[in-house]
Amino acid sequence: MASSAPATGPRRDPPGNATGAGLSTPVPPRGSGRRRRGRARMALNLTAMIDVVFLLLIYFMVATEFKLGEEIYRLDLPPRQPAAQLRDPFELDEEPLRIEVASTGYARGAYSLRIEGPYRQPASFEELFEFLRQRQITEHTVGGLFEPDHPMVIVPTRTTRWEHVIDVFNALARAHYTNVTFAKPR
């Protein structure tokens, strides 16, 4: 059985029909520069996806820009073992340098420092660092007192803010002392 054109389909006028009646896409008048022939092309609208991709890109760029990184100080704690196992009985005691730190208020700069011994007392963490650096025995310093592995003990009070304890530790780390421990709170 021969099939004819479906009666329900879109009726297509021959090209050049100026009326455009019944066309799926109206034919522009002559001279407009736009002509469409044949079926309408189907294209995926990517605008929304590009919007989302750009938003994600901006988000990650901004988040990376202002990200604050967590870093660490490495600290080996002294093992808790019987003293007889730890110490060589013929080894002389090496007197540790004890650095006391206390918070005197809630502000970042409210603290006090004290180094046990006949030393000029530092007024700031920077001065503490300078003292530690100048008193270290190295090839480049004269009059050094402490080897890099000299025992250093940080002695905070019970209420010393953790940031001030860390500042003392940082001064020791900057001066490259490697044998640092924490004392029980005063």
């Binding site: 995926l44 604050l68 967590e70 660490i72 600290l75 808790r80 940031e163 924490f182």
Partner: protein, 155 residues
């Protein structure tokens, strides 16, 4: 007879299925990651030293102990993974037992210690003591109580 009938203009529609797939994947990813980070890291203001002589965390195995701040320089407990240990002798003893178990499973474990910058030292020193105590309880001579003091630095 064909069942396909076409009427009027051909409709152009974007296929939203891949976009929805991607969106759901992103949602699932962020939900999972944020939960893991929340469990491991309690929100707090870490110390921010000037000219920090710090290092970036390596790839070594580590456990994170958070000293949970409550304001006024005090702490309400210690968080290790999803467990919270109360302050005081009993809580610290339980913490040391738990850490000893971790050391037995992994003698090279490092402990990341996170504490708020305003927390008093009296709440933090017991954690250091618990770590030392846990290492001493393990019958492996190679266990050295290694602690990473976590601070924040501006990149």
């Amino acid at each position: 007879m064909s069942a396909v009938f076409k009427r009027g203009n051909a409709e152009v529609e974007a296929n939203l299925t891949p976009m929805i797939d991607v969106t759901f994947l992103l949602i699932v990813f962020f939900v999972l990651v944020s939960r893991i980070v929340e469990v491991e890291n309690v929100p707090m203001e870490l110390p921010r030293p000037d000219q920090p002589e710090t290092v970036r965390p390596g790839d070594e195995q580590r456990a994170v102990i958070n000293v949970i701040p409550t304001g006024g320089g005090r702490a309400s407990g210690y968080r290790l993974g999803s467990r919270t240990f109360p302050p005081g002798a009993d809580g610290l003893e339980t913490l040391a037992d738990h850490l000893a178990g971790l050391y037995r499973a992994n003698p090279g474990l490092r402990i990341n210690l996170r504490a708020d910058r305003a927390t008093g030292y009296e709440w933090i020193e017991p954690v250091l003591a618990a770590v030392s105590s846990a290492a001493a309880r393990v019958e492996v001579a190679a266990v050295v109580p290694r602690v990473n003091l976590v601070v924040i630095t501006e990149e």
